[in-house]
Symmetry: C2
Subunit: 360 residues, 2 copies
């Protein structure tokens, strides 16, 4: 029996995707081989990778002057790779600090010898807010503005795309990519780990505008060098083939859900149902400002914190897993990415009401 | 129907491993989730990763003063990571140049600002040899000696462990790790991509001796920083969970084959059968010196090169796939890693004889 998995990442994958992967795991496309076993340079896998790229371009509307790269190392790898590819040591970048993932990107940029202008810092609200549009000014010397559209730990999400002034906009979309339509042309560079909305851990997506290529530092590892990776169709070295294959299956699944508009509507309905349950309860509390609530990661605390452990264990027993909050903040976190069905959120809402009735 | 897959990597995986992964792909250990979906920090996956490490330590006899790291980015990533972790710019390393992969490691070390003493270069034989023991001297200033125990493209393998003098020995074991017992204590650092003898592409194994930690350059990306990765049990960021899981299944399979001594004997028998067929034929020719023939990648040319295309297509039709030589050198390459059964090699030998009889 499948459970409802609210893990923050690795996270739930659509059952249809898993079942297709399972059916063909020992014999892919009648090849007599698993997709795990075929050469990345063989025509079958090259077609599989090209298919994933085409679907992604089509679903997200990626303009022709952007390159799609399939890399490794996750967003944490990109925290170093972005500065290495786009700056020289001693230069300045701007950053919006909205929580733990922004903070990690900040430290990694400093480790690459950059001056970081923190154009907005939400420390005063304990990172439960995002800066208002127009409330920050970007240093004209900044080589780019970096921000985190969705903070997976804090459960905070931008409801708008920040204006980077004349600098390119760089965004870590790990936890909200493909959750709604996206105006890619507003960005210079987008990166995202796959393990929330795209497939398994170990695949990293980078979308980079052509004019940002050709300026990597000489010491940039080849596997992180956007220019070299773009020139080799992400096959400078052996790519994470199974991840690319599962990405393709996931994108086909998104297509079958009628695309990103439909996905966005469903995600909004799920988030509304869950925040609604929290806001009408006396036991549960979400600390995030109304205009900054994440559609992907819904965090809440219990007015009696001693009940948190019982909540997690009773939920698990009821087939609702992965609800324990991040170890750094505690509480509860329900990650409701694309693959979480509305029925799963409804089951959680029902459980929350029953738990409150039982314990309060 | 499964074929015999002679691809160089990604490569054949034991059918038992694939079948187990297939059986539990939608419900791992009764969790109601795929192993692809579970949190890397949950107790089940932490146990899965620890189990893979324990099996690896046990099978290879990894001493306690070595750390086992599960990274991403393949050997190509390590070409940059090793210099970043073990040297400062301007320092010297030594390297044995025995073919294309050594050459790539050399260029990547230079890109990190290192002086590279090429202590031996097999250019004179067109990289069909390895240097004899004692025929090279390591610069006393070298921070380490790097070599490639098995050259996947050239089909050349060291039959011995080179003496690095007082420097630590660093080896790219991507294409021969776990193919035979290994005296790990002779090495300072071993790295290997998983996609030949350990599982899927996207997982990279590093074994590093404790005394080589704590000296990474400040700009080393965290995901390549051995010290930080060792301190976090390879979970500084989200690891490639499915790859680690498949590594564990593959190590259990090696255990069921009675361990690395038995694996080594079987690999030797496979190589002997294939080289025997080549050496007793008028059509096939292997260019590699007898003491440097790879047990993993058997390369050969046809005395009439025009027959190469027919050989590959007729072999494919006969269920023997992945035999086309590397695009840079042409000819034929049969990669016969652990997962290739003796029956597969026998089928290839039989096909080679029939092809020769038909065409010559």
């Amino acid at each position: 029996m499948r459970v409802y998995n609210f893990s923050a990442g690795p996270a739930a994958i659509p059952l249809e995707v898993l079942e297709q992967a399972q059916a063909e795991l020992c014999d892919w496309q009648g090849s007599g081989m698993s997709v795990l076993e075929v050469s990345h340079r063989g025509k079958d896998f090259v077609a599989c990778s090209a298919h994933a790229e085409e679907l992604l371009r089509s679903l997200l509307g990626v303009p022709d002057n952007y390159r799609v790269l399939f890399l490794q190392g996750g967003a944490t790898g990109q925290f170093a790779a972005v500065p290495m590819n786009l700056t020289a040591p001693g230069e300045t970048i701007a950053l919006l600090n909205t929580g733990q993932w922004s903070g990690k990107a900040l430290k990694a940029a400093q480790a690459q010898g950059l001056q970081v202008q923190v154009a907005a810092d939400e420390a005063a609200s304990n990172y439960t807010t995002v800066p208002s549009p127009g409330s920050f000014t970007i240093d004209p010397a900044a080589r780019y503005l970096h921000y985190t559209p969705n903070e997976t730990i804090g459960g905070v999400e931008f409801g708008y795309i920040p204006d980077p002034g004349t600098a390119p906009l760089v965004a870590d979309f790990s936890s909200s990519i493909l959750s709604a339509p996206l105006e890619v042309s507003r960005f210079g560079l987008i990166y995202a780990g796959a393990q929330k909305n795209m497939g398994p851990a170990g695949l990293t997506l980078v979308l980079v505008r052509d004019d940002l290529l050709d300026q990597a530092r000489p010491e940039t590892p080849d596997v992180f060098n956007y220019t070299k990776m773009a020139a080799s169709d992400s096959m400078l070295n052996t790519p994470p083939t199974f991840g690319i294959y599962l990405l393709g299956l996931t994108l086909e699944w998104i297509q079958r859900q009628d695309g990103l508009e439909a996905i966005a509507a469903r995600n909004q309905a799920k988030a509304d149902a869950l925040y609604g349950a929290i806001d009408t309860s006396d036991l549960y509390h979400n600390p995030v400002a109304l205009d900054a609530r994440s559609r992907m990661n819904v965090v809440f605390t219990l007015s009696d914190p001693e009940l948190t452990g019982a909540f997690v264990s009773e939920a698990t027993a009821a087939g609702l897993t992965g609800l324990k909050g991040h170890r750094s903040v505690g509480g509860i976190r329900a990650s409701i990415y694309n693959a979480m069905e509305l029925a799963g959120v409804e089951a959680l809402v029902e459980f929350m009401a029953a738990f409150e009735a039982e314990h309060c």
